[in-house]
């Protein structure tokens, strides 16, 4: 047989401190962002082209989503693709640049000082450059390419373009050289990041995580591969047609939807073939996020319709589209993913050395399923209320919805806190020894 790996060889998981620092930063940004929306519901109840909305959006997108995703990728990519992370030192530098960059950007967006936005954006971009370089070098080590690796590589390419487009936007605002319509540029930039990096990763990682935790396998590698190909092709077209304000964006939007339809079909097939009948809450969060792609796609198709007039309602529906995409789909998927990643990181750091030598708690014993369920239903309620209120431009109801969302995120943070306690106070009990091992299991 091939693909041997011995102890001391190149295939190992990274240290737990690295992903944890990104993830905890992300959770802090999520709490701050939700509290901000509670204090300023007008950010959702009015049209999104102003400095405060852009500042809040970058807090969610860079501070929360990118921090959580990048930290998780440093953990998941080496494990999922069986290759050691190229450099943990580079990743630590990335963290410093990332935090400096996104905090500075959010503050400067709020003050609408675009030269400083560009400066802090460049710091962030340098960090992203290190991140991409690190993962590309890691991908270069993987023993064999599969649909997960293809999806991750695609997402990194779109991330690079999204960052470049963001810097271009800031520079164009400072020196007024861009031939493109400002709102079109911003929407194109948002789709590169949202669809290209975030949704592409949800798709790619889903092909690894859902089979792993539902105890199943990818049922059709061809169908899974087509979902990635169509997403890439569709997004390239969506980006260009939005940028040039072309009527053809509906066509490429439909290509994206077909790619997502392949994804949904494959996820359904994986779930039908699963050996584990009861899905845990982490997986339920993730799969709900995948299901939320359906209304987001439908809304995107409507908004891409040729000659759709910009009315107060359609303008608010654009807000709903962005809110459902970033908070509904991406945030919900990440919360589910973190309910897998964080407990494992903490459990491994606190208990792996004691396995077999002491009685250690199970992974599920680190957090509260009741809090998971509470957080799930609060999130769904908050999402629905905020979406409807945003569509109706009703500030009081937006605030009420965001209060429910904030409550959900606080419940999540408390549950993660319960997990983290095990880092400082591990619960290892004496082991009751069983009879000597006999052999075949």
């Amino acid at each position: 047989m091939s693909a041997k790996a011995s102890v001391g060889t190149d295939v190992r998981a990274p240290s737990v401190a690295l992903p944890l620092r990104f993830i905890l930063t992300g959770i802090g940004a999520l709490l701050t962002g939700c509290a901000w929306l509670v204090l300023r519901p007008d950010l959702l109840a009015t049209y999104h082209y102003n400095q405060y909305v852009i500042a809040a959006t970058h807090l969610f997108v860079l501070g929360w989503i990118c921090s959580a995703i990048m930290g998780s990728m440093y953990q998941l990519v080496p494990v999922a693709l069986e290759a050691r992370l190229h450099s943990e030192k580079l990743a630590r530098w990335h963290f410093a640049l990332h935090v400096t960059g996104f905090v500075g950007m959010v503050v400067m967006f709020q003050n609408w000082n675009l030269k400083y936005v560009g400066s802090f954006g460049s710091i962030l971009a340098l960090g992203v450059g290190l991140f991409i370089y690190n993962l590309v070098r890691t991908l270069a080590r993987i023993p064999r390419w599969n649909v997960v690796a293809f999806g991750i590589a695609s997402s990194l390419a779109w991330l690079a373009l999204a960052i470049f487009a963001g810097l271009y936007l800031a520079a164009a605002k400072c020196w007024s050289f861009s031939p493109f319509e400002p709102l079109a540029q911003m929407h194109a930039h948002a789709h590169l990041g949202g669809l290209g990096f975030f949704v592409m990763l949800i798709v790619a990682v889903g092909y690894k995580l859902v089979p792993m935790f539902a105890l199943s396998e990818v049922q059709s590698a061809r169908r899974a591969g087509w979902s990635i190909v169509l997403l890439n092709a569709g997004l390239a077209g969506v980006f260009a047609t939005i940028l040039f304000s072309s009527q053809w964006k509906i066509v490429f939007g439909c290509v994206v939807v077909v790619g997502l339809a392949f994804y949904w079909l494959e996820i359904l097939a994986i779930l039908r073939a699963r050996k584990r009948r009861n899905l845990d809450w982490g997986l339920k969060y993730f799969l709900t996020a995948v299901a939320l792609l359906v209304p987001v796609s439908a809304l995107g198709a409507v908004l891409a319709w040729p000659q759709l007039p910009l009315t107060p309602l359609t303008a608010q529906m654009e807000n709903v589209y962005g809110f459902l995409a970033f908070i509904g789909v991406v945030t919900f998927a990440i919360l589910g993913m973190l309910y897998k990643v964080v407990p494992f990181l903490v459990w491994y750091a606190s208990y792996s050395k004691a396995i077999g030598r002491g009685k250690v708690p199970s992974l599920a014993g680190l957090y509260s399923p009741t809090l998971q369920a509470t957080g799930y239903w609060l999130f769904i309620s908050g999402l629905l209320l905020t979406s409807v209120a945003t569509a109706l431009a009703h500030e009081s109801c937006v605030r009420a919805g965001c209060v429910v969302l904030l409550a959900s995120v606080i419940v999540f943070a408390v549950n993660i806190g319960k997990v983290l306690i095990h880092l400082v106070r591990p619960r290892i009990e004496p082991l009751v020894l069983k009879p000597t091992l006999q052999g075949v299991a």
């Binding site: 102890v7 060889t9 295939v11 190992r12 998981a13 792993m212 491994y348 091992l437 075949v440």
Partner: protein, 77 residues
């Protein structure tokens, strides 16, 4: 490398949700006789296992099987 005459202990840790394969393998190794070796079957390459094996004084070698699963042969160093 130790050449053993004992029948290797076969541990089937397939079909378990992570991190259960890690747990059952390490628990079983605590009771593995010095002269014996273990062959642990898993659905995925046990990346988190290697550092722990090294700390506990074991050597290991993983081979991928035709069905996509992995067999890790573990011996006392």
């Amino acid at each position: 490398m130790m050449n053993t005459n004992e029948t290797p202990v076969i541990l089937d840790a397939r079909g378990l949700e992570p991190p259960q394969p890690l747990v059952v393998i390490l628990e079983a190794l605590e009771r593995l006789p010095k002269s014996a070796e273990m062959r642990a079957c898993t659905d995925r390459r046990p990346l988190h296992l290697y550092a722990l094996l090294e700390q506990r004084g074991f050597t290991a070698e993983t081979e991928q099987q035709n069905d996509g699963s992995f067999v890790t042969t573990i011996r006392h160093a």
